[in-house]
């Protein structure tokens, strides 16, 4: 007897079947938000099996990448890497390499070490406060992607400064959405959308008879009002916004998105949306594109193939938009996109 003794081949049925027309949806809390998955499947049973597999993968990643859960792999690294080189598994190591790569390419505007700054500014589980200079100095000592040493030959992570911590909140949801998309593709799913808390969306194919999945970008502070609509097909999209968590002091607005280079909140940008090849890419890019603003952000995106950007600048009530390579049309214009595939300027 050899293992189970049954010779099995991967069922190919889903690949050869015609495109299913039944759309199913399931939502579950994960990674501190709600994941909502839409998919076309031949039957409810098939959809439930796919949902179960997808959410099991998301839960696995949540248990691995969380910095809230003490038994996660990331928490283990955070506890030990200030004192020694910590060996981790290839998946975690590869994701950390990706993060360092984005940090390098973005000139440090993407940085998974900003946790101490978030604490100093009171945005870790809070609404924010102006820090004392000594608090900011102390936090800055423990921030900086270049203080993270990755050794590929030994697959180890080491912090050059004790007390540093990694936070994968700026890439983890996108990575999880991509893992689910990959799982679906392997199972022969032709059309699906993974919505990771609405800030990152990853799509496979397009709904039957459609050119893509419609995604609307809403006006900052007004979720019911679309300011642009795009069609996505085999792509990712991510949005970073400063209007959910901020405080005002002496006429200035301080939001929860930090410029890791200065250690201070970004000013003058309300929202940045990025389209790219997948969820990992767009979630990682959305932060530097927000931090850099429209002009520099567009230059940065120009070096990343297949990307596009859309910014809302200024302040609430007096906002203006800017875009680069943006395929969307103004307002809630899905019908016109579907009808002729043409884009109209979204500039307002």
């Amino acid at each position: 007897m050899v293992c189970l003794g049954m010779a099995m081949a991967w069922p190919d049925k889903a690949r050869t079947d015609p495109m299913p027309t039944n759309l199913y949806v399931q939502a579950r809390p994960a990674m501190g938000t709600e994941f909502k998955i839409y998919l076309y499947a031949g039957s409810e049973d098939q959809a439930v099996a796919l949902f179960d597999g997808a959410f099991a993968e998301i839960e696995r990643l949540d248990a691995t990448l969380s910095n809230y859960k003490p038994d996660s792999e990331l928490s283990r690294i955070n506890r030990l890497a200030g004192r020694e080189a910590v060996t981790t598994d290839p998946e975690m190591f590869s994701l950390l390499q990706t993060c360092m790569d984005y940090s390098r390419k973005s000139g440090g505007t993407f940085d998974i070490t900003v946790g101490p700054l978030m604490r100093a500014w009171g945005f870790f589980r809070g609404q924010g406060k102006y820090p004392a200079p000594w608090q900011l100095d102390k936090a800055r000592e423990k921030v900086g992607w270049e203080k993270v040493r990755l050794d590929a030959t030994r697959r180890t992570v080491h912090f050059t400064v004790d007390g540093m911590e990694l936070d994968l909140g700026g890439i983890g949801k996108g990575y999880a959405a991509d893992r689910v998309a990959r799982q679906f593709r392997n199972a022969g799913v032709k059309a699906a959308m993974v919505d990771a808390g609405s800030s990152t969306i990853c799509v496979i194919g397009a709904p039957p008879g459609k050119k893509g999945w419609l995604v609307r970008v809403h006006e900052p502070g007004r979720r019911s009002l679309a300011i642009s609509t795009v069609l996505l097909k085999d792509q990712g999209l991510s949005t970073s916004g400063s209007y959910e968590k901020f405080f005002q002091l002496n006429g200035r607005t301080y939001c929860h998105i930090m410029d890791p280079r200065t250690g201070e909140p970004v000013e003058g940008v309300l929202q940045a949306t990025v389209i790219g090849a997948d969820g990992t890419t767009t979630e990682a890019l959305s932060k530097p594109v927000f931090v850099l603003g429209a002009a520099k952000g567009a230059k940065f995106l120009a070096n990343v193939p297949g990307t596009a950007g859309f910014w809302v600048l200024g302040e609430l009530g007096k906002a203006r938009s800017a875009e680069w390579n943006w395929p969307g049309c103004a307002g809630d214009c899905g019908e016109s996109l579907e009808a002729n595939g043409e884009r109209k300027s979204t500039r307002r």
Partner: protein, 421 residues
């Protein structure tokens, strides 16, 4: 040595080990390299399914570990497992071919329960150390064969009861052995879930594939919830009471998820130990309120253990009689309405501290300990004796449920904790 003496000896030896581990092991573990530089511990895995893959990820977090062989009969597992190793790790469809490979030091057996006995014994006899998923095996005879193979081969066998390595479990056990909870009379444990306990099957119409992936649902391959979930709790109770139980009664059925499964969707078993102590274990799949918990009841206090922590509660102090002044006799007592809450005193509870360096993941601690036992040529903590005691309790508990009667262990084995008579 009499049966009781042997039980006491095994229990005392385990207690001494636990104490030593707590005193010396914890801090070092996180700081020193596990395998010598340039000499990786090379692992093969038989059965890289969902649990096997989780073990692979965890083992790869231990310094100096590399996977050099993957064996499965289900082709998609190879791509999934290589996605974990991020290497073109050699694959085998026959476990004997994997065991014939030269570059494997130890084998993880994560196949369905039915095959544990065959695969573990073959791996030990091929000269490999084995990390064997729980439960140890599906029959008493197979458990005996594994114990004998460990003794013959001189190789390490560690059973996959990872909570054995959780610091809050070890700390609680230490306090129990120091008498902090008084005399332990009962352990009540449950693992309650509210789901169908099924794994997704890519093509739900494929009956063979369904049995392959959801083998836990079928009696040919599995002893159901008692083996897959109860083995953790039984193993801990065995540690507290110093070895395997002496009898068991049980009940169970397919009462809620009537979806073609054969193994029960709820089980309740009551074990009696030679010292007059009791373990009650329940697993249900229709309500998750209780989750996974163990409550250790002693005459002086209670320990409540979960997958992430442990809290100790004291019993209310027993009051001594106090003298009464004559005044009461002269003036009498006052009458009136009275109220006293039914709930007993519990107090705030004392959290069992978890050392900073080893906080958290029991799986990591178990995998790291196995690798360390190979490198340092030491016997694993959760060894073949612990595996035998846990598995025989599972097997006979299952038999008690099936036959609806009390099962006496002495009628099915002459061994005590795996040691032959």
């Amino acid at each position: 040595m009499s049966e009781i003496d042997r039980r006491k000896f095994v229990g005392a030896a385990a207690g001494a080990l636990a104490g030593a581990w707590l005193a010396a092991g914890c801090k070092e573990r996180a700081k020193s390299p596990v395998a010598p530089a340039g000499q990786p511990v090379r692992l093969g895995v038989i059965g890289p399914g969902s649990r096997g893959q989780e073990l692979m990820r965890t083992f790869l977090r231990v310094p100096g570990v590399r996977f050099t062989g993957l064996c499965d009969v289900y082709e998609p597992r190879f791509a999934e497992a290589r996605d974990i190793t991020r290497e073109d790790t050699p694959t085998f469809r026959d476990y004997r071919a994997l065991l014939a490979a030269k570059d494997i030091d130890a084998v993880i057996v994560a196949t369905p329960l039915k095959f544990h006995g065959e695969h573990v014994v073959a791996a030990l006899e091929s000269g490999r150390h084995v990390y064997g998923e729980k439960s140890m095996a599906m029959t008493v005879e197979e458990c005996d064969r594994i114990v004998d193979a460990v003794r013959r081969s001189g190789k390490n066998y560690q059973v996959g009861v990872q909570y054995h390595y959780a610091t809050w479990y070890r700390d609680t056990l230490q306090r129990v052995r120091e008498g902090k909870l008084g005399k332990i009379t009962h352990v009540y444990a449950e693992w309650h879930r509210n789901n169908d306990w099924r794994r997704p099957v890519p093509n739900s119409g494929d009956v063979q594939l369904e049995r392959l992936i959801n083998w836990r649902m079928y009696k040919e391959y599995s002893l159901g919830l008692l083996a897959e979930l109860g083995s953790h709790h039984i193993s801990f109770a065995n540690e507290i009471f110093g070895g395997a139980p002496e009898s068991v009664v049980g009940s169970g059925g397919v009462d809620y998820w009537k979806d073609g499964r054969e193994t029960y969707d709820n089980v309740q078993v009551t074990y009696r130990y030679p010292g007059g102590q009791t373990l009650f274990f329940s697993a249900i799949t229709s309500n998750a309120h209780e989750g996974a918990q163990i409550r250790v009841y002693g005459t002086e206090g209670t320990a409540v253990l979960t997958e992430g922590d442990a809290v100790l509660y004291s019993e209310a102090k027993k009051l001594k009689a106090s003298s009464v002044t004559k005044l009461l006799i002269d003036h009498g007592v006052m009458t009136g309405a009275s109220y006293m809450a039914e709930m007993p005193y519990r107090g705030k509870g004392e959290e069992v501290p978890v050392p900073e360096d080893v906080e958290g993941n029991a799986n990591y601690l178990a995998c790291e300990s196995f690798v360390r036992s190979i490198v340092n040529r030491q016997k694993p903590e959760a060894d073949e004796r612990e595996g035998w005691a846990e598995a025989v309790a599972v097997i006979l508990g299952h038999k008690a449920i099936e036959e609806g009667k009390r099962i006496w262990f002495r009628e099915h084995t002459s061994r005590v904790n795996g040691v032959g008579a």
